[in-house]
């Protein structure tokens, strides 16, 4: 993946090495042990910024978040321990929490299969050596490098009820389009489609790399045996790229559970609570209502879900993935 071919080796150390090869091995080893002691401190010195960063910006906050989730800390009152009551509230006494979980799952279940299947189909098409294929590759990847805010703003305009491009287009055929972003039936679907188009290029690139790694030999052999294209796909391509499919699925599932930007810019959780998702709820609780304790508890539930899914997929991977280097 990384291009290591274009490095032009510094001539000095190479020349030094050649000269060195005539020296006795003894001296070399002595040098090593003398330098080895200093090396230790250089090692710690070099990693120290990242270690400090880890303690201050990762480990500290995660421990703190866990602690905060057992308090009633908010902007308006002094923190006091409240045991499990935040978790109890979320799981048993807060219908909105379950709505956000449900909406997040609906989004995830809609987005992931669509994204993976489309990305795989596109990768299979792009794998063919046809004229102009690189052009499509570039175009479909473009939204990946575009800001989610810009992407969603434009789509919001396209899906606008009266003046939106889609409804104007439908009007040409005499169809009165729905209020896409103000109808509980349509809004989630719109968000799923917009999100798929934004990110499908990423999985496409991952699959394309995997497809290129499948040895041509297998295809040739299958063709000699008279296998149909479908059969080749089922029996050669698919089994050989399952590791990539698993990787892409894991990333996409986790990403979909953390959906936020689309919701914030496009719907604000509405209409009603139909697109109110977990991270948006965490954001609201923590940074608008400043209820840090409750927000941390929800964040930890999300963390637990993500961790559980990651472990689950790892287990499944062992069972389903046949060929792994």
């Amino acid at each position: 993946m990384l291009d290591t071919s274009e490095k032009t080796a510094n001539p000095v150390p190479v020349a030094g090495k050649e000269a060195e090869s005539t020296f006795s091995l003894d001296k070399k080893n002595k040098n090593k042990s003398r330098l080895g002691r200093g090396e230790k401190w250089y090692g710690y010195l070099f990693i120290s910024p990242m270690v400090i960063g880890y303690l201050v910006f990762v480990l500290g906050p995660i421990v703190a978040a866990f602690g905060i989730s057992f308090t009633n800390w908010s902007l308006y009152n002094e923190p006091a321990l409240v045991g499990l009551s935040n978790y109890d509230k979320a799981l048993n006494n807060d219908p909105v929490f379950w709505i956000t979980v449900g909406n997040t799952l609906v989004f995830s279940l809609g987005l992931v299969p669509l994204n993976i299947c489309l990305a795989l189909a596109l990768a299979l098409l792009l794998k063919q050596k046809l004229p102009g294929i690189g052009f499509f590759h570039t175009i479909i990847f473009t939204p990946v490098v575009t800001s989610i805010v810009v992407w969603v703003i434009v789509w919001k305009y396209i899906f606008a009820t009266d003046a939106g491009l889609i409804n104007q287009f439908l009007k040409l055929f005499g169809i009165q389009g729905p209020a896409w972003l103000y109808s509980e039936n349509w809004t989630m679907l719109v968000i799923i489609i917009v999100s798929v188009l934004k990110n499908v290029g990423l999985n496409m690139v991952i699959f394309l790399a995997a497809l290129h790694d499948v040895p041509q030999l297998y295809y040739d052999a299958a063709r000699v045996d008279g296998a149909s294209p479908w059969r080749i796909f089922r029996s050669i391509t698919l089994p050989l790229i399952t590791p990539s499919i698993f990787l892409a699925t894991t990333i996409t599932v986790i990403g979909s559970l953390k959906i936020f930007g689309q919701i914030y810019v496009m719907t604000g959780g509405g209409p009603g609570t139909s697109t109110y998702v977990m991270v948006y709820y965490i954001y609201k609780q923590a940074f608008q209502f400043f209820d840090y304790g409750y927000a941390s508890a929800i964040a930890f539930i999300l963390f637990a879900i993500i961790l559980g899914l990651t472990i689950f997929q790892w287990q499944m991977r062992k069972r389903w993935v046949h060929y792994e280097q």
């Binding site: 990693i47 305009y157 009007k171 914030y264």
Partner: protein
């Protein structure tokens, strides 16, 4: 065998025709998806050049009549757009440079230097990539508020360099330095280089391709980041582009032609760089896949 017999025959025009015909569904499907992706960009540019009265006209105008270039300067009159642009740019550049330096330094140490607990520390650092930013955001916000660092650019610069985002760079650079043959730094050592000079003079120049890939990835993440600016910034003069764009809607009652002009300006520089350095770009972004 069959292809052999085919080449012995005269080129059969019916056959090539069928071949072309068989590629048609491929092109049709690719065109359809590409069209869905391109339409938002074209519509954005088209709307950004429309007169305010033509924004909602039916049927939709793809080529604006008249073409109003004035929308672009108008964006700057409405909002300190150049300031947002500058904020986004300098934050992204600082994060990119900082990540490159610290990730390369730590990556080199993890790959090439010997010190106790090296692998344990590495795995522990790496585990931070699994933790969702949404979980750490709340305590970070409280902590940074205590140090009076919210509503500054500090949270957008330092935690991304030294926090979970930077760990990915460490991982990437370590994987890269491991592929560099050990003789090279052995030789440098014997020539009297200490680990620092070996790193600076010999290893870092080798790592430029890997750093370029990492930098694209880092720059994009920083430039497009929305969640952090949203929670940390409250003064308008500190806004970054995505945050500023997200507030455009509320303030002006959505002047779509101006919002689109601003969006074009926020997107165009990045897209131009993308089209010029696509291969590296796709490589860099696909690295998210490794994350």
């Amino acid at each position: 065998m069959s292809s052999n017999s085919g080449s012995l025959r005269n080129p059969n025009s019916g056959r090539t025709f069928r071949k072309v015909l068989r590629t048609l569904p491929t092109y049709a499907l690719l065109s359809l998806v590409s069209l869905l992706v391109v339409i938002p960009f074209l519509w954005m540019v088209s709307t950004s050049l429309k007169d305010q009265t033509k924004v909602f006209v039916f049927p939709p105008q793809w080529i604006p009549d008249p073409i109003v270039w004035d929308n672009y300067p108008k964006v700057f009159e409405r909002q300190p757009f150049q300031l947002y642009f500058f904020n986004s740019l300098y934050i992204a550049v600082t994060v990119t440079v900082g990540t490159a330096i610290f990730a390369a330094l730590a990556g080199y140490a993890f790959a090439k230097l010997r010190f106790p607990f090296k692998n344990v520390i590495f795995v522990v650092l790496l585990s931070s990539m699994m933790i969702p930013a949404e979980v750490t955001a709340i305590p970070l916000f409280i902590g940074l508020t205590n140090f009076k660092l919210t509503n500054t650019h500090f949270p957008l610069i330092v935690p991304p360099i030294l926090g979970a985002g930077g760990m990915f760079g460490v991982f990437l650079l370590r994987q890269f330095f491991i592929t560099i043959p050990g003789e090279l730094d052995e030789a440098a050592k014997i020539d009297g280089c200490n680990p620092w000079t070996t790193f600076w003079r010999i290893m870092l120049p080798q790592a430029i391709p890997a750093l370029a890939t990492l930098s694209i990835f880092t720059f994009l993440n920083s430039w497009n980041d929305f969640f952090d600016p949203l929670i940390y910034l409250s003064s308008k003069e500190l806004y970054t582009l995505p945050l500023a764009l997200s507030t455009f809607t509320d303030q002006t009652g959505t002047d779509w032609h101006l919002l689109m002009a601003a969006s074009v300006m926020a997107t165009l520089p990045l897209l131009l760089v993308f089209f010029l350095a696509q291969k590296r770009f796709i490589e860099g972004v696909a690295l998210t896949g490794l994350k």
